[in-house]
Symmetry: C2
Subunit: 231 residues, 2 copies
DNA sequence: CGCTTGAACATTGAATGCAATTTTATTACG
DNA sequence: CGTAATAAAATTGCATTCAATGTTCAAGCG
């Protein structure tokens, strides 16, 4: 046997490629806001930081471009993409359409376990003061209510819209002032689901999404104005 | 007038990269059905055919993977992805939700020019016996009705869903028997829009999409069964 | 002083080469 | 004859290298 055993550390499920790792890494950084919109992504710099050559970097960037997270301009490089205010509003409108639809489908199918899970998530969100995981907990709560609808593609589509829109709101304004309101709205939504009032539940969810978006966007506008003035 | 093409994107007269050419080429081939679902895409073969090295091929494949047109498995290669029957049905359901929404938004804003354009498209579809361009004409007709809603992201999303679903229906069954029915439904839709009956127009559009899907899918099922038996 | 020019530099785009992995072919054995 | 073991071939993943393009900046000219 060829004795090439160079102390290969437990390979396990290390079936991941460099390109995949790089893509996942960059995706996380962008969606978390660590790489702000407009930031230039230099291939060589990334390659050095991540310890790979430029080839997997480029492959990952092409993936992210198709996902809409970066813009690639020929011979100029990659830039973290941004969404205009109009784009953001439209994303929330799409969410409102699709989420109310999923809720309508899933409401008759919700079990006590689903409700228990949703309530547990609400409790966790209320307790956690760090705001760190609020975004993902919030998504988990919403998706828990839609899961019985059994529309995996729709759910995945909404998830991407949610994450991609959310990153544009810097942490300071994501929850400011809205935390209690959000909690009350979530509880009301759950109550309406339990009561089986489909129409009111849908209307409430639509308002929850659209009004939340409007609030966030108005704060974002104010912040951008302030930034523009300051500079 | 606004009788130009629907492409609102920037004129892509910029330097085109090999990767971009390859991606566009493969995308066309896949969406047109020339590369059938399940087909293996060999990097070296594609590179030879297109006269480039494997690098741009790989970058293009990563783009197409993010677009959902191919599946990439580590060290095994790329295959043209397929949609299950359930997936197809779900795609049409999403279309029904979003298209009825856009129609509701745009109906009050439709002008005589919009109607004229839609009717011209219908006429072209009726005349053209080749079925060659029917798919894109059909899309142009639908999108013409939604354009005034001014929801570019939604429109683009629907377009992708439409094209990506349509390719799974082989040419022989795309129109069989349904051509006249489609034409009548399109004319009725236009009539309802002109009359300003939002609710009936939305309901009709929803039925148009969902029933069309059901018809196509049942034919597809039959065909797959027959194929399975034959082999 | 402002503007153009162009050359050095920086960055991206693509080809080549090689290692890692999978697939196919071949052989050994029951 | 069928099946497991194994070598050979094919294929992918990635690093390196070279080519093409964009950017910067200083010198030359009005």
């Amino acid at each position: 046997m060829s004795e090439t055993t160079v102390s290969k550390r437990a390979p396990k499920l290390l079936r991941q490629t460099s390109t995949g790792r790089v893509a996942a890494m960059l995706r996380d950084q962008i969606l978390s806001g660590a790489l702000p919109e407009g930031m230039q992504l230099r291939q060589e710099k990334l390659a050095a930081e991540l310890g790979v050559s430029r080839v997997p970097i480029r492959e990952a960037l092409h993936q992210l471009e198709a996902e809409g997270l970066v813009r690639l301009e020929t011979h100029k490089g990659a830039v973290v993409s941004g969404l205009s205010i109009d784009d953001l509003e439209e994303v929330y409108e799409i969410r409102a359409r699709l989420e109310t639809w999923l809720l309508e489908l899933s409401m008759p199918l919700l079990t006590q376990q689903d409700y228990a899970r949703a309530e547990a998530l609400l409790a966790t969100m209320a307790e956690d003061q760090q705001d760190e995981h609020w975004s993902s907990l919030n998504w988990n709560f919403h998706s828990a209510l839609y899961a019985p609808a059994n529309r995996p593609q729709t759910l995945e589509l909404i998830r991407k819209l949610y994450l991609n829109a959310y990153r544009h709101f810097p942490l300071p304004i994501r929850l400011t002032g809205g935390r209690d309101r959000m909690h009350r709205e979530h509880e009301l939504l759950l109550k309406l689901c339990r009561e089986g009032d489909v129409q009111r539940a849908k209307d409430h969810l639509e308002q929850h999404i659209l009004m939340g978006a409007r609030q966030l966007i108005s704060r974002l506008k104010a912040m951008r104005r302030r930034d523009a003035d300051h500079s």
